[in-house]
């Protein structure tokens, strides 16, 4: 990929760069906007005079967010669910996806159908709730980890990636006397860093942002994640909830709090991606064929 000495090649490069700058602008904008809203003077924020840069300065909204004594507990909980849940997810997902990627695995078709079917049909919340109770998972941290152990979507993604690994590698390892589990660990995993990085990222983001399971299965405040707090602030501020609480006028500080809580709840997870990016570089497969 070094052929860009031609004029048209350079032109294409320039066009791509200009386009990417545009992408940066439109994608950075919402975050900058939220940040500016969160630290602006409440009056300017409520008047919606903040377009890009903060107007005035006030940390009042952050003060309100951090005044809540529960916030640190929920922060730690979120980290717990994200780290523990993601590790479990990734192990479960790849150990299912790899066998399903093997074209001649005799259960490949049936098992794939079995899991894809669950993407479409589900028994709904009530029987699942009963099950979680019967298994003694209700109001325990394990409810959040185990319930979403495997995302079908991610299994399919991972399986698709594994199928691009040359079959000849597996065959030659077999000739060397390795069994399937050994092949998986010594041959497949080292070649699968990009997809594992994707799984880590997607599962981690999923755990970080999820609140619904906690809402249903974790009544204990000490176990609840940060996102429940975010939900409380955001939805109560949208008017969706107006019908159930009339006669309430919000002070400006409370209107601003949603921007502060988004910053507080979002910044840490934003920094996960840059760390995983290095696994997306090309070259994982270099020399793979030679084995």
């Amino acid at each position: 990929m070094v052929h860009s000495n031609t004029f048209s090649g350079k032109l294409a490069d320039a066009a791509i760069n200009v386009f990417m700058v545009f992408v940066i602008i439109i994608c950075l904008y919402p975050l900058v906007f939220v940040f500016s809203m969160s630290i602006s003077d409440p009056l300017a924020a409520a008047a919606q005079e903040v377009w890009l840069l903060p107007k005035g300065f006030s940390l009042n909204a952050y003060k309100l967010v951090f005044e809540n004594p529960d916030i640190w507990t929920s922060y730690l909980n979120t980290i717990w669910y994200t780290v523990g849940g993601t590790a479990f997810n990734v192990i479960m997902t790849i150990s299912l996806a790899y066998p399903l990627s093997r074209r001649n695995f005799f259960l490949r078709g049936p098992v794939t159908f079995l899991i894809v079917f669950t993407m479409l049909f589900s028994g709904g919340l009530i029987p699942t709730f009963i099950l979680v109770n019967d298994l003694g998972l209700y109001n325990t941290r394990w409810a959040l980890i185990i319930l979403g152990a495997i995302g079908v979507w991610y299994v399919i993604i991972a399986r698709t990636y594994f199928t691009t690994i040359p079959e000849s590698l597996i065959e030659s390892a077999k000739l060397d006397g390795a069994n399937d589990i050994r092949i998986f660990w010594t041959v497949i995993i080292p070649l699968s860093k990009p997809i594992i990085a994707v799984l880590v990222l997607f599962y981690a983001v999923g755990h970080w942002n999820s609140y619904f399971s906690a809402l249903i299965y974790l009544p204990d405040k000490n176990l609840q994640p940060l996102q429940l707090y975010l939900v409380k602030v955001l939805v109560e501020n949208t008017g969706l909830a107006d019908s159930i609480m009339p006669s309430e006028e919000k002070s400006l500080a409370i209107m601003q709090i949603k921007y502060a809580i988004i910053m507080v709840a979002t910044l840490p997870i934003l920094f996960v991606y840059p760390f995983l990016q290095k696994y997306f570089v090309k070259g994982v497969m270099i020399g793979a064929i030679k084995g």
Binding site: D70, Y229, M245, S251
Partner: protein, 556 residues
């Protein structure tokens, strides 16, 4: 092969075990359902149980309920709408309630907007139910199914505070009865809220003064005032950027304008009894057409925010604080915030006030609909081990004067002080250091929650009428207040019939009215509109509403 058979055998046995578990929990539900039926049979005259005549001289529900702190009630509720303080944090108001009742509370809270989802799941699976649910949604389905404790006997035995409230509000106990005449939930009252801090037409008084206009009285006055707001640059920036009137909560909020024509389209949703007690669907009334035509004219002439269907509270507040809009419909207490913020932003004369509701062109003087009478659905789990304590706790928390005062005014010495026997809000409420509004301050301490509360006008007015202008204006609109239409709980058939039909009718109605007002549908299509409403089946809905209404009137 053997492997496979084993695997599927395991699955089958797992299924059997699971289904046994299910039937197990079902059979425990069976006899209890019978119980509640028996309960209904045993108390043939439940309507007398709550009547005030039976109140004896000795208190039926003395506090504390327990002295040794041996009882802990699990209470599920939508969490504090003031997001920075959760009810689980043992907030001051609830510390005092614990002290007064002697009952410890274990909170089980869910964010308000998600409360229904979470509670319904738990109710429907019958698992992990708390002793008490302070619900903000209708629990009819569950009372019918016998998951909830029937309260009539307990009411007769302990309902001392409730009885006092029912004396002044005889409709309330009737509203809480199922069609069979049993009571499964307790509701607070809310109608007084409107009396104390009204909801209605708010206007920039300083703009009127600047343009030498009197406060508008009729809808025609309103048209002229808004026109002047648009054309005569009342915000003084030499730009014609005024959006004379704005709103929030979309097109349905504009239905309040029907009040000028003597219609009840918002709080009562158009279902209102006429002079003879016949329920009418007032959208079919020609006056509704006049109202819509009026609103259409406002939009066409640029007097009503053309974003009226989209606006949420944030958009409205923004237009008001930027001094773009000079009129809206909202709760009166907003005036304080808006006036102060406009002044902070440099408009020294700014003054928002509540004005009387507009009078109609046909000579009607106008009115303001109160909120519905009942508020919240507080219930007790049928399997609660402390049912009596739970009932007495509810009676105290929802209905007692002492506690309604606490829930509204907060903590004596902190949020209010007694002066000449009258409570007075402290600076901590009126000039909060964090810039919180009065209601938010009370909420930050745990008061003024969204669940059942028998509000009392004398306390709410202390909280909401914090200056002379507010007090005087609230008095001004008192004579315009009218009650909303109330209906008894539906029977099962009525419920399922009305639910789906009404969703279709409401969908069609809101869609068409929004388009009429925006001018996307011409007004001469009005006849098609009313015909279609009839075609969807409004007559059947009216009939059901009528029988609900008749039942309620006979209960009272």
């Amino acid at each position: 092969m053997t492997k496979r058979t084993n695997g599927s055998a395991k699955i089958v046995s797992a299924l059997i075990v699971a289904s046994l578990a299910m039937t197990g929990c079902q059979s425990s539900g069976g006899p209890a359902t019978n119980n509640s039926n028996q309960g209904a049979a045993e108390s043939p005259k439940p309507s007398t149980s709550g009547s005030p005549g039976t109140a004896s001289t000795s208190p039926k529900n003395p506090m504390p309920i327990v002295t040794d702190g041996s009882v802990t009630l699990t209470v599920a509720a939508p969490d504090n709408p003031f997001a920075a303080a959760s009810l689980t944090q043992n907030l001051p108001v609830w510390q005092e309630i614990e002290k007064a009742t002697g009952v410890k509370i274990k909170w089980d809270v869910v964010p308000g907007s998600q409360f229904q989802t979470a509670m319904q799941t738990r109710l429907a699976s019958g698992k992990n139910l708390p002793d008490i649910i302070l619900s903000n949604f209708d629990l009819y389905k569950y009372s019918k199914d016998g998951l909830l404790l029937q309260l009539d006997d307990l009411m007769a035995k302990y309902g001392e505070n409730a009885a006092k409230i029912f004396e002044t509000k005889p409709l309330l106990p009737a509203l809480m009865k199922t069609p069979e005449g049993n009571t499964f939930h307790l509701s607070g009252t809310r109608d007084e809220e409107v009396a104390a801090g009204p909801y209605g037409w708010l206007i920039r008084k300083d703009w009127l003064d600047k343009l030498s206009l009197p406060e508008p009285v009729t809808v025609d006055d309103w048209y002229n005032v808004l026109k002047a707001f648009k054309e005569k640059d009342p915000n003084g920036n030499n730009k014609a950027d005024e959006i004379p009137m704005t709103n929030y909560n979309g097109v349905t909020q504009l239905y309040n304008w029907g009040n000028a024509w003597g219609l009840h389209l918002r709080a009562s949703d158009g279902f209102y009894p006429d002079a003879k007690g016949k329920i009418q669907y007032e959208w079919l009334d020609p006056r509704a057409k006049e109202m819509v035509a009026f609103l259409n004219k406002l939009v066409k002439d640029g007097l009503l925010d053309m974003e009226f269907a989209v606006n949420k509270k944030d958009q409205m507040t923004s237009k008001i604080i930027r001094s773009l809009s000079g009129a809206t419909i909202a709760w009166q207490e907003s005036n304080t915030l808006w006036t102060n913020k406009l002044r902070e932003a440099g408009q020294a004369d700014a003054q928002w006030v509540m004005t009387t509701p507009p009078a109609g062109p046909n000579g009607y003087k106008g009115h303001i609909e109160k909120s519905g009478l009942s508020n919240g659905y507080s219930v007790i789990n049928r399997d609660s081990k402390n049912a009596e304590v739970a009932f007495r706790w509810l009676d105290y928390v929802i209905y007692s004067e002492e506690n309604t005062k606490r829930m509204t005014l907060g903590i004596e010495g902190k949020t209010y002080v007694m002066k000449d026997g009258q409570p007075q809000m402290t600076d901590f409420v009126t000039k909060n250091p964090d810039g919180l509004g009065a209601v938010e301050v009370i909420r930050s301490l745990g008061g003024w929650q969204t669940f059942s509360q028998a509000s009392r006008v004398e306390y709410i007015s202390k909280l909401k009428l914090t200056d002379e202008v507010l007090t005087e204006r609230a008095k001004l609109v008192q004579s315009y207040l009218v009650p909303t239409a109330e209906f008894a709980m539906p029977t099962e058939d009525e419920y399922s019939n009305i639910n789906r039909k009404l969703t279709d009718i409401t969908t069609y109605k809101d869609e068409m009215i929004a388009k009429f007002i925006l001018g996307q549908e011409p007004m001469d299509k009005w006849d098609t509109f009313t015909k279609q409403i009839k075609a969807i089946g409004i007559d059947e809905v009216i009939q059901i509403r009528q029988s609900q209404y008749d039942r309620l009137m006979s209960e009272k």
